[in-house]
Symmetry: C2
């Protein structure tokens, strides 16, 4: 089975793993305010999770971003892009709320700028040095009052170990927090790179991702940060699909404090390669976590396409398989229906011939060949059922067309996905 | 709400409505044979539906076809295309089985040709004058023995009123038979046009469709038949989406016996326009039936995009909305979440600006505006729930960009879709 290589030691700290980054999260009561007009800030009921997060760096950071390609973009996406354009790719803070996407609601841009201003005033930085993101329901007005009331406690609670509070605050239908961090060496200095992610449904990143905030103390120019981020998004978040719905608010930000003390990486070379590999490890692991926690999912499904003429072709086919509702339902039912796989490979948007493929199912329970040379085989159904009943399963297809490969991450489709999204707004 | 115009009188008879066409359907026991080796032909258990259909015309017919664009094509698709190439677009019979798609199984082409030969021998026609189609599980060997045993009874039962038996035989997870026919006048003669369709899951036609067989007694050249079919598929079957999975076996065939006695339509003109309008009425109604009977569906969902710069743009946006799993789940839950609609409009693969759109929900229970000028509104949630709780609902968006419009047909996504496809093969 495909494993993400653990090239670099994993460390604690998520978005605070890198030197200079503090974070916090509190309960502002945004949803409660929307439903009742009560801002709920003073007395959160038990079980009410944080809904607003702040990340603040001790210094101004070179910053790169990748954004949704949905033509309907959330106001925070526009404001963040505009801020980074004004500062020439520098930022010092991130504010994120869940519970409301601040999208398609008329005054979204004004509200997003107000959120930046609240942070800037507290932190003594410029408004345009703040990254703003929102996630939650689309098309409803974002109430500013609970955020205004929360900004004080949020700033007070900032800490170099506040990553968990922040990672909780950005969750919507997520059932687990998503954090990952590594240490590596660049320019002879120990560096840190880590981040947090949210996302569960409405996930089909394309040139973008769900909400992801990654920080490092490794010094890189804004240009090299952007290059590393853009390239790595292609082989991580863009290879993820929960349901094929691409969010309006996708955003992946990468901030560098430079506090590791290495000489700034401003061109390609050994240090840049190391950084990019570390970034891949962090982003691929966050991607995997997002897939595994897909809305209603009972299992992680990975599709690996090997023997492809090139990586992009392999990626297009892998994602077509992972995206197929029929494949997803069959994985839920542990039904080793290879016809579903071949069908989804066949309608993938690529010119590649997929009719010579061998297809295997694999998990901790073993590996089974279900299709050879494009033809379905008779196989041990009980064994196949056992393999597909594991919590992490892999669909592997060898195209016998070349030596390139790619992986895509997804999950099964379940009754709970339907249930969650039959009444998302309540 | 959008209604398909009933320009021509509806008539009975489905695929047998047109002069010269007989049909039949019997139970061959294909699935039983695959599971047990018992061909089950002699004594079908109660509730076992027909699984093989035959259509035979009294004369050789000009014939047009449109096929799946999935690169993995079922053997019957290849054989039918090859047969029509050999005859220069003529056919006299159609044989169709359900229970096995005869796809990705090694000897599919041989078996498909054998099915044609069985029909040809009985009917005294050429093998290449037979259209063959199969639907069901992919990647398993099609047993020929039950088909060989069924061909006698199938031929004996052929009748000018056998359309219902045939329409039953081509069903898989369909819960209702799909037939529609009209009468119209061309060249001063009364003509008939009707057909049958199957399809429930694995539906996202693209330059093709599910299994559809349409017959007419109106005389047209093969070229004009193909032109009418190809154009009408674009605005009917290609505007249908149940789950976004495009079948390997999609096929839509249109046969003309010419027995109405009109002068053959061999160029554009009034008669061709009339024929095309009649074909639209038949195919649009079959499309609507396919959507309404989508796997696990509890309701028909229609999306109409108006005020578009051109029809194609409207169609791309309408289909993006209809395809969205999040929209489909919201429709199941009668949740008037306009954010889901705006999001799916935004990621539609078109350059059109959709941010000025007004969005309405409509059904027999009324109509409600939920989004104006791209911005979500406050609205009467109880009224919206009532509207979306009907069995047929419409999502209407006016883009305010022009005067073109298009419609797409689909359904909601339910627990039953997951259930059906969690264990499709059993």
């Amino acid at each position: 089975m495909y494993q993400i290589e653990e090239k670099f030691p994993v460390t604690e700290g998520g978005v605070c793993a890198a030197g200079g980054f503090k974070a916090s999260g509190v309960y502002a009561g945004i949803k409660a305010f929307m439903h009742t007009g009560n801002d709920g800030n003073e007395s959160p009921l038990p079980g009410q999770k944080n809904d607003i997060a702040l990340v603040l760096c001790d210094v101004l950071c070179n910053t790169a971003g990748v954004y949704t390609s949905n033509k309907v973009k959330g106001a925070p996406v526009w404001v963040t892009k505009d801020n980074l354009a004004k500062t020439g790719g520098k930022a010092q803070a991130v504010i994120v709320n869940s519970g409301n996407a601040n999208t398609c609601n008329g005054d979204g841009e004004e509200k997003a700028r107000a959120m930046c201003a609240l942070v800037a005033e507290k932190a003594g930085i410029k408004t345009e040095e703040v990254i703003v993101a929102s996630t939650g329901v689309i098309g409803q007005v974002l109430p500013l009052r609970p955020i205004e009331k929360a900004i004080g406690p949020l700033y007070e609670k900032l800490s170099y170990t506040g990553n968990l509070e922040a990672a909780t605050a950005i969750m919507t239908t997520d059932t687990v927090k998503k954090e990952y961090a590594v240490t590596f060496t660049a320019g002879g200095k120990e560096c840190h790179l880590g981040g947090m992610a949210k996302g569960s449904g409405m996930i089909e990143p394309n040139m973008a991702t769900t909400l992801n905030f990654i920080t490092t103390d490794c010094a890189l120019s804004s240009e090299m940060l952007q290059k590393a981020l853009s390239e790595t998004v292609q082989v991580t978040y863009n290879c993820l699909c929960v349901d094929g719905d691409q969010s309006t608010n996708d955003m992946c930000m990468l901030m560098s404090s430079g506090l590791a003390g290495n000489e700034e990486i401003s061109s390609e070379g050994e240090d840049f390669d190391t950084f990019r590999e570390a970034l891949f490890q962090v982003m691929a692991n966050l991607t995997r976590m997002l897939a595994k926690d897909g809305e209603g999912a009972t299992k992680l499904v990975t599709c690996v396409i090997g023997g492809a003429p090139d990586r992009k072709t392999a990626a297009v086919i892998a994602k077509s398989v992972i995206r197929s509702p029929l494949v997803k339902c069959a994985m839920y039912g542990a039904d080793a229906n290879c016809g579903r796989i071949l069908c989804a490979m066949g309608y993938a948007d690529t010119d590649c011939d997929v009719t010579k493929a061998d297809v295997y199912y694999e998990s901790a329970a073993g590996r089974i060949l279900v299709c050879e040379n494009g033809l379905g085989l008779s196989f041990d159904e009980d064994k196949a059922k056992e393999i597909l009943s594991e919590k992490e399963v892999e669909i592997f297809a060898d195209l016998h067309m070349g030596s390139a490969s790619s992986v895509a991450w997804g999950c099964d489709m379940t009754y709970d996905y339907v249930k969650i999204n039959g009444d998302y707004r309540s």
